[in-house]
């Protein structure tokens, strides 16, 4: 394998070097896996087991470590506790502690995702069918919230492109719209006037087809907690977090750029692209720095936000020639 800077393996920041304890955890995990007899597939299999120990809270979701360029951020991984108790999921309340408290009502089985719009094979896919659609990969992505904080999360899933290829979009399909669940019976804040429901998001077709765009079913080696968007969500690591819709029930292929929830709520503040960009401020605050959750305690300095959240080598060409201040 050729390892080049372009592939995203260049890490100029010491903070991106895996600390010894994390590395040691990986070792001890391998030992446990070996003891459990899960390493039966022979030589080389060790390199494919998951990178983080499981928290042991939810059903395991096996995956091999993704070899995709940019899919293994070397930053310290955020604790499962932080990643599962500090969430923006307004259907369950606007405080970041709300989703973890309220999302237990979400019913994730049975679950189907409707495929509609400009595709040759529209229809309905059950969660079970989706899970079998392609091999599960573990990918460690940085997650940058538009509010100015960030985490590093090991997601489990496969490239959304695998699904898109299966349903065969027509030539006229230029955008992909994601419609998320809006069930007032299980989601107490659906109906609040904060946003219009259901929460929808969208990507340009080339963004949706980019291998880093992850159809996500799990994190930390287990199925997604409800508050993180169970049972299936999108993860787009180079865009602000709100672009990554949770608890998806419908994927629609369109010719026109779809409206998105935050864009409808405040068009001058949240654009369709919403790529992470330290040079383009939010109208009401700077985007130059971010607070990395769990790093360094109360007096820790914020860290510099990277262009495209550090995925410029992988996704920069998607936006070649575009005015990113105008197309924010």
């Amino acid at each position: 394998m050729l390892i080049t800077q372009d592939q995203g393996f260049h890490h100029p920041y010491p903070s991106e070097i895996t600390p010894p304890q994390v590395y040691a955890q990986r070792r001890s995990l391998l030992v446990h896996l070996g003891a459990a007899g899960l390493l039966a597939s022979g030589a080389g299999a060790w390199a494919q087991s998951a990178a983080v120990p499981r928290p042991g809270k939810l059903a395991p979701l096996d995956a091999k470590v993704s070899a995709l360029a940019g899919a293994q951020a070397k930053d310290n991984i955020t604790t499962y506790k932080s990643a599962s108790t500090y969430n923006n999921f307004y259907e369950f309340g606007t405080d970041k502690a709300d989703p973890a408290e309220n999302a237990h009502t979400l019913k994730t089985r049975p679950w189907t995702v409707e495929i509609e719009g400009l595709v040759k094979k529209p229809g309905s896919l059950s969660l079970e069918e989706l899970l079998k659609l392609s091999a599960m990969e573990e990918r460690v992505y940085r997650l940058r919230c538009v509010e100015g904080w960030s985490m590093v999360i090991p997601w489990v899933g496969f490239s959304l492109s695998e699904l898109i290829k299966k349903v065969e979009p027509l030539g006229s399909a230029k955008f992909v719209e994601f419609i998320t669940l809006a069930d007032p019976k299980t989601m107490p804040y659906v109906g609040s006037r904060v946003l219009s429901w259901p929460y929808t998001e969208g990507l340009r077709m080339d963004e949706a087809m980019h291998p880093l765009t992850l159809l996500t079913f799990g994190m930390y080696g287990e199925v997604l907690p409800n508050q993180n968007g169970a049972p299936v969500r999108i993860t787009v690591p180079w865009k602000y977090g709100f672009k990554s819709g949770k608890s998806i029930v419908k994927i629609r292929f369109t010719e026109k750029q779809p409206l998105t929830a935050w864009n409808k709520a405040a068009a001058n503040e949240y654009g369709f692209y919403s790529n992470v960009n330290p040079a383009v401020d939010h109208p009401r605050w700077s985007q130059a720095t971010e607070r990395r959750i769990g790093e360094g305690g109360l007096f820790a300095k914020k860290i510099k936000t990277q262009m495209f959240n550090g995925y410029e080598a992988q996704v920069g060409q998607l936006y070649a020639g575009m005015d990113l201040a105008k197309n924010f």
């Binding site: 932080s82 904060v194 605050w285 700077s286």
Partner: protein
């Protein structure tokens, strides 16, 4: 059950004041406990910043409620607790400001200057703090003597502008999420307390 005279007498004792100071310090004690028990959640800096703002606002409500309560309950003894409550409100405002300049802005003056331009709710909060300063600086007995009772009282009417800054600061901060429920509750409470000054007084008390 205590009768009216006896609870007022109990509040006259020096111990009552000690208890009141301890109560006012409880939120702060709670933070110290939470810091050492990792109980502030994933983003402790944000949690402290929000909690200190909440308590500043709550104490502002409380300090403005003391005069109406005195009249309602016919309990002049309550006035003995007004100044300490006001000073506590200021102390929590100082902590709130410290959270901002230290945790959020890393004590970097240039960054704060840029942030003030970007975020109007920050300078509204700071302006509110500036209006608190003359009150806090003249909160001791010698200042009352030095200014004279009447002028001191006129100066301390400045407290009535604080709800305006506090509420606008809070409203603007919540505007990003269109999440105004708490803002309206505080507006209602402070609105009633200020309205009492305009329409409710005069019958039972000569001033304030």
């Amino acid at each position: 059950m205590l009768n009216k005279v006896s609870w007022q007498q109990a509040l006259l004792s020096p111990r009552a004041h000690g208890c009141w100071y301890a109560l006012l310090a409880l939120p702060f004690a709670g933070w110290v406990w939470a810091v050492f028990h990792d109980a502030l959640g994933a983003n402790p800096a944000e949690a402290l910043s929000r909690s200190s703002g909440d308590w500043t606002l709550r104490l502002l409500c409380l300090v403005l409620a003391i005069s109406p309560l005195r009249d309602l309950l016919k309990a002049p003894v309550l006035l003995r607790f007004r100044r300490s409550t006001g000073v506590a409100c200021f102390v929590y405002a100082v902590l709130h400001l410290l959270c901002y300049v230290w945790f959020d802005q890393n004590l970097e003056i240039n960054e704060i200057a840029k942030d003030l331009v970007k975020r109007p709710f920050i300078w509204l909060g700071m302006l509110g703090f500036v209006f608190m300063l003359p009150l806090a600086l003249t909160s001791f007995n010698a200042a009352v003597r030095w200014l004279g009772g009447k002028r001191w009282q006129q100066l301390h009417r400045l407290v009535y502008v604080l709800p305006v800054f506090a509420l606008l600061h809070f409203y603007w901060m919540r505007a990003g999420k269109n999440d105004f429920e708490e803002v309206w509750i505080y507006t209602l409470v402070l609105g009633v307390l200020l309205a009492w000054r305009v329409w409710g007084k005069g019958k039972t008390s000569p001033r304030n």
